[in-house]
């Protein structure tokens, strides 16, 4: 582990009873870097994301996070209030299904403002201004600010979730198949949006996806997982253009080229 990683994990292992989900996984993430985790369903990608973000405790291994002042924190040894604070300020989590993260009976503006208010923002005008600003950034019409999320389309919901997550300027965002449930044209626009936001705000991200195309478009580095093990890791283009492991070769060759 070098001294400038944002997030490091060593020897992560986790099994659900007889089912092994993670075997001896190491992860390093540097500030501003986008790391894609690819693999088929059931390969342990989402479990890895949950362990990295402190939502699941591993059977073995540890995850360290470096805060803005340079101190290292063992994510799973942190007290619950500290982890909660981290999750609503420095970190963000984007779910595949935006309904898991959004409050469906609260207006778009309230959804975006919640993290600000949880951090102690107590000026209505400022909260609203920031909410408007973020809705514009994710290409949602400003006059939809007082509409309920249930009147939004799938793509809009996903963009709203991204606005809600990024409003506190997190340094690290965990994304679980952010484009998974969207049709292809909406996916393309969303990927474009994520790429520009992440680059402009210098956000580091761990992106879980089963879609090699998404990984190629967004990620700097890629990790290929199979049955809980990391079988190949490296720069995205390098891994995808010259796959070494048989499983990666299979994965790359099975993508249809339009």
């Amino acid at each position: 582990m070098s001294d400038d990683t944002l997030l490091s994990a060593r020897g992560l292992s986790l099994s659900y009873g007889a089912l092994t989900a993670l075997v001896d996984v190491d992860v390093d993430l540097w500030p501003g870097e986008m790391l894609a985790v690819v693999g088929e369903s059931g390969s342990g990608k989402t479990t890895l994301l949950n362990v990295l973000s402190g939502r699941l405790t591993p059977d073995a291994g540890a995850v360290w996070y470096r805060d803005p002042s340079g101190h290292l924190h063992d994510v799973h040894a942190m007290p619950a209030p500290a982890l909660r604070t981290l999750h609503r300020s420095d970190w963000g989590f984007v779910h595949q299904d935006p309904r898991q993260n959004l409050r469906m009976n609260v207006t778009a503006g309230g959804n975006v403002g919640e993290r600000l208010m949880a951090q102690g923002a107590r000026h209505y005008g400022n909260i609203r201004e920031q909410a408007l600003n973020w809705l514009t950034q994710v290409e949602i019409d400003a006059d939809r600010i007082d509409d309920m999320p249930r009147t939004f389309s799938g793509g809009m919901l996903q963009r709203l979730q991204i606005a809600r997550t990024l409003v506190t300027h997190p340094r690290l965002v965990f994304m679980d198949e952010p484009t998974g449930s969207l049709d292809v044209s909406v996916q393309a626009r969303l990927l474009d949006l994520i790429r520009s936001l992440v680059t402009r705000l210098k956000i580091a991200a761990v992106l879980v996806t089963h879609d090699i195309g998404v990984a190629r478009l967004l990620a700097h580095r890629i990790m290929v997982m199979q049955r809980g093990r990391v079988v190949e890791t490296g720069l995205t283009d390098q891994v995808l253009d010259d796959p070494q492991h048989p499983y990666t070769q299979l994965l790359v060759s099975s993508v249809l080229h339009a």
Binding site: A118, R122, Y124
Partner: protein
Amino acid sequence: MKGYNFAYLDEQTKRMIRRALLKAVAIPGHQVPFGSREMPLPYGWGTGGIQVTASVLGAEDVLKVIDQGADDTTNAVSIRRFFARTAGVRTTTHTADATVIQTRHRIPEQTLRDDQIIVYQVPQPEPLFRLEPSRIETRRMHALADYGLMHVKLYEDIARFGQISISYDYPVMVNHRHLMSPSPIPAFDNPKLHRMPALQLFGAGREKRIYAIPPWTEVRSLDFDDHPFRPIRAPHPCGLCGATDSYLDEVVIDDRGGRLFVCSDTDHCAERRAAGHVGSEGLKEAAE
């Protein structure tokens, strides 16, 4: 009364409730679970308040019971008579004479003293219950002081109605730490919670929770810097005593749209009239 323990509850139950009360006073605004007993009145009529009152009542105490500010409504009359019969304590309608005041939906207009206890009847102790359905989650939110959600509710009110539209049971922060429901008192009464000299005890019988505000504790109503908390009062003087600073009830007096605004605190109104204050209705009677 023969066949009953002093103040109806047995001593073991009172002991259990007093322990919960001590814990509640030690952590202002924190909801303490207790083993709520079945009482000889239905849930929602003050089973929580009556158990707390029974546990703090002594033979020398003077009890006042109010319901929506009034001493003469069914709930107030029957609870007052219940303790007069089961504990033999003196009862009163005068705020100044009482040592224990059990209340539903109001705080008396007259400032309470440090030798008085006020007991609130609480239907729903959890201020977050309409916003977060899971009790496990709300308990965690209280533990971590994670109250952003309550402000989301206030934000939604302003976005929709231009102002915070909560007129009763207005959420408060107690001692800069716990979010608390003040029971369904009007928002008008919220400022009286702040640094009150009297001990404030809250009992929720159905929900089996007790909480408290010790004397002189900071109690702040939630608001935004640019939308400060405003206590709301009907813009009329009392029709009977002419008071312009008390909380008013609107009374329909005929079937031609006639309305009368009178003090909701009947004792306060009666004392003002005894002191010679007259409202518009009193003047009309004098003219006839």
